[in-house]
């Protein structure tokens, strides 16, 4: 088990905060175009991402891995990809799909299970699509 450094925890806390911010922006920008049920679901996810960000900022996280850097790289890659994609898309269903993956990634991170983190990061990257820079 390796403990996340304060510096890494702060960076990840900021990533989840930024993701919540993008979801909020989408929700308010598309308020009248979205269905009630979509707005409600998106709002729930936003609050949970903000809660995860808050926990990352103040709670020690231990991850069951010998290669902490790789786990952090995976999470960072996934959150960056999702943040970029959320800025670009205008479809509520796709936004919700990415938001749910972001939530799962945060949950996996807080459990500290390296396999769950890798799976969640991979699913998040898939949901966000192919990175233009990696084509």
């Amino acid at each position: 088990m390796a403990e996340l450094s304060a510096e890494d925890a702060r960076k990840l806390a900021r990533s989840f905060y930024d993701l919540a911010g993008k979801l909020g922006k989408f929700r308010f920008d598309n308020w009248t175009r979205m269905q009630d049920v979509e707005r409600t679901e998106l709002e729930k996810i936003e609050w949970r991402l903000l809660t995860q960000s808050s926990e990352l900022a103040t709670r020690a996280i231990r991850i069951s891995t010998d290669d902490l850097d790789e786990a952090i790289d995976e999470i960072t890659r996934a959150t960056k990809r999702m943040t970029r994609e959320l800025q670009r898309i205008g479809d509520a269903k796709k936004v919700l799909r990415i938001a749910n993956k972001a939530l799962r990634l945060g949950e996996a991170l807080l459990t500290g299970n390296a396999v769950a983190i890798a799976n969640a990061a991979s699913a998040a990257i898939s949901a966000a699509g192919i990175d233009e820079n990696e084509k």
Binding site: R10, Y17, G24, F28, E43, L50, S53, S54, R59
Partner: protein
Amino acid sequence: MACVQPSEVGRFAKSASETTAEFPPVAKDMYASCLRFEAYKAQRLSGWYDNESLRMPCASRDSAIAGVLAANKVLGAYFSALAKLADDNVVSTDREIGGLAAIVKKSGLNAAQVDAVAELTKYLTSTLLDAYRRGKIGDAVASQNGNVVLVTNGLRDIISRDYRQILDIEARAANDFYHASVNESRDREPLAAVLVLRDRDDRIVELAKKREAIAAYVRALDAVRDGHQKLYDHRNDLRAKVLSAELADQIETLQRISRQLERAF
């Protein structure tokens, strides 16, 4: 030869100790921020909350803040002891200090910083302390400078980064809460929406004041660290006039920040 009055070192140490004493309300508000965040969330998701349901998700924040307060208290006690030594007074250390090192482990400080708090605690509770009277205060400063630097830098990181992040999260929660509430009711109750926005504006102003208080305490920690470093640099000649001038800036900064924090909370 021009020289520093002995009390100049004492004045700096006393200012440092007094400024650290203004920090607890700032830190405790970071716990209150968690409760406010949970209240916004509960109102939006379930429409209702009670105090118990807010406190539970904030328990880890509470422990972390208790740890930071413990580290800050040890730092303040060290400077209080230094002030007494500088003025050749007898030092008596609060018995509670000995038990604080264990609480600090949950603060978010790294291992070296936690060890530095433990070292300061050990020094404060040591029988050696009373042997360091004015003539040997330079030795005391020399032995603890590394620990003071580690502890002030650790506290600085937590306050300048984590506490700012905590307030950013609360600000986003407040904005989301008010924005959604206004969107949902503006058509039915336009005047109520105006009042709600006014309430939002008040909250944002309060948060800005808290950010200023955090920034001020970070500057205070810098002044504490830099002032102690100056004592260290002049440890073999604590009566040098140049030290007096250098400490005067730190003392002025600390006293100004102390007044600012007293007014803010």
